[in-house]
Structures are given as structure tokens and as C-alpha cells.
Symmetry: C2
Subunit: 353 residues, 2 copies
Amino acid sequence: MPADPANGRREITVSDVAAAAKVSKATAARALGDYGAVSEAVRDRVRAAAEQLGYHPNALAKTMNTGRSNSIGIVVGDIENPFFGQATRGAADVAKAAGFDLILLNSDEEAGAEENAISVLLAKRVDGFLVAPASTTVPASLHPAVESGRPLVLFDRVADGLDVDTVVADNLAGARRLTELLVEAGHRRIAFISTIGHEGDYRLGDRLGSSSVNDRVTGFTAVLGEAGVPNPEAFVRLNARRDGVDAIVRSLVDEGVTAILASDSLVAQAAFRTLRDLGVAIPRDVSLVAFDDADWTSLSDPAITVMSQPIHEIGAEAARLLVRRIAGDGAPTEHLVFPQVLIERESIAPPPG
Amino acid sequence: MPADPANGRREITVSDVAAAAKVSKATAARALGDYGAVSEAVRDRVRAAAEQLGYHPNALAKTMNTGRSNSIGIVVGDIENPFFGQATRGAADVAKAAGFDLILLNSDEEAGAEENAISVLLAKRVDGFLVAPASTTVPASLHPAVESGRPLVLFDRVADGLDVDTVVADNLAGARRLTELLVEAGHRRIAFISTIGHEGDYRLGDRLGSSSVNDRVTGFTAVLGEAGVPNPEAFVRLNARRDGVDAIVRSLVDEGVTAILASDSLVAQAAFRTLRDLGVAIPRDVSLVAFDDADWTSLSDPAITVMSQPIHEIGAEAARLLVRRIAGDGAPTEHLVFPQVLIERESIAPPPG
DNA sequence: TTGAAAGCGCTAACAC
DNA sequence: GTGTTAGCGCTTTCAA
């Protein structure tokens, strides 16, 4: 007695409806599934029988035949992170409008978990993938998705050497602008903090595991270099997840850094707390800027100057692109880049002294 | 040529692997699926062939036979809301550990969308449902889920007249405590604000559409009544989504209210902004307290006194319960209630004057 | 327009 | 331990 969970009842099938309506299974299926040709009379009769019996179509059986599941797999770093919450919502709305549902998996930014997620989605025969890749330099975990032939759209990050559609924000320009603001205010000792993992000290030209962080670091060090700051790479602090933002900020303050650029709002939040606990005044003692217009950044005292990204739209656009690919759009690979917008608030001041 | 998307290739099946390994389909399936009895030699041979051919199991076909899809449907109000982000993450982790994936749908707190979501999940033959019901007084949209015989666990809210498991926080006690704090500080004109929809003015005994908000209002008015405040129900402001928190707060200030209890952190955030824009000092002119320890509440100036809920744990526990039910646990319906914990900060002061 | 029959990829008896 | 044979619930030829 398969196809039924623990409880006793058997699901109503097309056969049951067909029998009740006194037509063949094929005809009942046509009437129920809205395809092929069915006379109006028969159609109504079948529908009535279905209603009467409480028929619920089995989408899985349909998928077995058509090869289409009407589901999209989405792999995010962590759905609890507001960034992914917003992107997922944007994607969900577009997907739903196009008749797709989302199967959601968290990767925790780990390649292993990501590969696992892809494999689960592959087994469930999703029609396409939406992923914020954990590693954009070694996107091996994405290969199975690519090889499956099902469309894959990357969002928030691009991946090296993978010919797939991507939807990201202009992190390079955003980082440049934020850094310029700090430099113009007179800062020279500016630190960049990110949670991204990286072996050893950061050196100019190193490729970071996330293309977006990579672009941010590149923009940051470039502007610093142009401003005549020697060894700008020495101001890049990575591995903040492992080492702790708190510890990093403390040592930065000791080292006399006068400004901090946080790579995301979670890092900024931790840095803000540490500075406050340390009694270091923002922006009088240390200036602080960040990416993402998280809600707290406009509520804190002082409010934080941020580079805002159209997160919702990035998710939505990625889904739109994916839906088009699923529909068979064979246009060349697209790489969409959304502009970021600066929101100036009160967290920048000239360096002290 | 079914079972394959737009592109040309055909998926590798158990039959292909069986042929390559020169065994029967059944044996290949046993080796691949890790069930039944297979000799080690054959098992290795089959696995090697599978690897070689690039075999990926079709979970859907498996579901057709076993009746188990290893997916759980989760219906939340809005995944962009931090509350649901956290609860979903809690649920996702437990689900994954038990071998289940999540199919995520947003209801926007509308019964229609919720019913739709349930029907989609039913068609996809999820093994169980996790839902934060849009309406707990008229849970009609949940009936199809209940009738399907597949387990359903409600979280954050209970539903009237539905014999299903629920996992919620103790909103009544939480609201009482928060209100007591305000009363003890000397407040008498205290307003309660929620986005929940309600026809006409709130009257004592009205059942609100969300059991959690209902409990909060009940606790709030009870404490006010015990403190001798006449007509406490007059201080309950609902429909804030429709009318706007901003407009409500402005009129409240005009009416000389000296304290506000926000039903959730999103309402609190909007209220905080309005008070700030109005130049009304918190807590000197108006005290403000809220539910949920959202990150901004400890970063704002002043930091907000809140009633914190174990959101992550609520999601996790709901998933744990559901997984047990799916496994066939026939124990009586459970109603889990988690305590809320008060976090005192600086947003309460005696009323002015 | 309708029906009969085959088949999607897998599991589950049952026999050997 | 292995193979044979039926299905799961649907769609899809192909005839009638």
C-alpha cells in the first residue's frame, strides 16, 4: 500500500475519478489536467466527480512524465541573515508568479554543504537553481548543477570559470565610493573587515572566495593606494568569523586605526557594539561605514553611513532570469550588475587629533 | 522523451547502471538504495558503474513508491521578517538532520494565499506541514492539510478548534510583565499597537485573528484593568498595517499617551522612528517597550526594553515535533509553550509631569 | 472526442 | 543473494 503515509486512507487518483465519471482514465486525466481535447459535457462530469471524491492531483506523478517539477532550488548562506531573507523573498515572489515553488537550503557558506544541497535538489529534479555560491574561486560544488543541464543562476556573487548567468551589485564601485568618503574626510589608517576565510595575510591580487568581497577589497585597496597610503593590503582584516569581529576591532583600535569599513551589516553591527563597549566614540574617535542598509543602521546613535544594495531586486531578477532559462531562452549568458547607492548619515568625521 | 528538461540528454537510470554492471534492475536498485541484501562484490560493482555513468537517483520516483517525499512544507507570513527568518532556520536545521528538506511559501498573513500554499504542498506530497497560521480564529485554510492525514504542526500561534500540535511562546505572561513594568513606572495612559486586522474598535473579549496577538492584548488589558484604568480596551490600536504605525503614533501622542507597547519589533521600529521625527524623547516623554529582541533594539538610543522570545527554538521544536509525527508518533496532541524573557534596557521612565 | 496501452524511474513482493 | 514481475499516478502515443 504505497503512496500513502502512516494513516490508513488511500489518495484519490485519476482512476477513481474516471470510474466515478464513467470515462477512461485518459479522458479523466485530460479533463483534470486541462490538456488534449475533451467535450464540455464530459469535462464537467469529470470535474464534478473529482470535486465530489476530493481528488488532489499528485504533482510528483506528473513530474515523472513531463520531467518538469515546477520547483526551483535556492541555496543561500543562511536564511536567518537579513540579506538572504530579502533576496529569497524577491525570488519567491517572482517564482510563485511563474508557477514555481522554492526548495530552500542553507549552505552556511561551506562548499561541502553546498554540494550536498545541490545533490538533494538534483534528486528532487528541480527545474533550476538559484545559488549564492559559497566559493566563487573553486566552484566545484556547482558542477553537478551545471552538468545536469538544468539552468543555474548565481546571485550576489559570480564564479570564476563558470559560464552561467549572474546577478550581483556593483561592489567595486560601492567600495571605492565608501573608501573615498573616508579618505576625503582625512583618514589614512582605514581598516576593512570581512568574515570571509583566507589563508594567511591578505596580499594584493589574492583572489578571495567570494567575488563580492573580493571586489570590495579591490576597490578599497585601490582607493587607498591612489591616496598614497603605503601597503593598503595591511589594512585588510579577513577571517572575522574565525577570529571574531570583537577581537579584530580591539586590536585595530590599539593600532590607531581611525576608520573602519565593514563588509556587511552583521560585521558592522558587531564592530559598533565593540566600539561602544570600548568607549570609543563614533565618529569622533573612529569613523564607521558599511555595506547594506540594515534597519539598525538608521536607528543607531550615530546613524551609520552605508552603501545600500537592491537586495530584494537582486533576488527577483535572478529568479526572472532563471524562469526565462527554464522556459528555454537560449540567449547568451547574462551578467547583471545593479548599482549600489550611498546613504550618507553621521558616522564619518575627520580623524581625531 | 519525458523525464528530461529542454536539453537533449537523458538521465541515467537504475536500468542503465544495472546493464552496465550486468545485474538485474532490482539488484542494482538494492545496491544503490542501500536496502535489501546484496553481496559486497556486486554492491561495489554496481556502485562503480553508477559512479562511472554519473548516476543521480530520482527522488521523485522513489517517492512514488514509498509515499514519502522527505520534504516538509513550511508556510510563513513573510520570510523577509526576521522573526520568520529565525524560525525557519531553526526548523531547517532540525529538518535537515532528520533527512528532510523545506519547501517554503509566504502567506503574507492572508488566508487565501495560505490555502493556496497548502494545496501546492499537498500536490507535492510533502510529508508534513509547518505553519504559522494567518488566521487562528478561522483556520479553514488548514483543513485540507489536516484532512490529508499528513501531520501538521502550528508555530507561533494556536488555532481554535483544531486538534493539532502547537509550539508557541507565553505571550500572555509576557504581555502582562511588560505592562506591569509600565504601570509600576507610573503610567496609566498606555497604548498597545499591532498590525493585525480587526473590524471596528477593539472590545474586551473580541477574538483576534492571531492567537499570539490575542494573548498579548488580553494580558495588556488585564493588567491595565487590575491597575484601575477604566476602559483599557480603548488603548488597543489594531489595523496598523492598514492605517500606518506612523499615523497611529502621531494621534497617540496628541491624545497624551505616555507609553507604548509594540506588539512586534517591526511596529516598534516604526514607532521609534515616528517618535524621533516628532521630537518626542524616549523615555522622557514617552516610554516604549516591545516584543522580540531584534538587533536594533540594543543598538538604538535609547536601547529598548523588550520581551524576548526563543524564536529559533520555537522553529526547531516545531520541526522536531513534526518529524516525530511523520515517523508515526501517535502520542496525544502537544501544546508547547516557551517562556519569554524580559530584557530591561533604557526605554522606560516615569510619565512626564 | 475518446479509449487502450505503454512507460516515466523506482520499490516491493515473491520466487528461485 | 539475485532475478522477475507488478505496480505508484500520471501523461502520451496510437487507434478507433
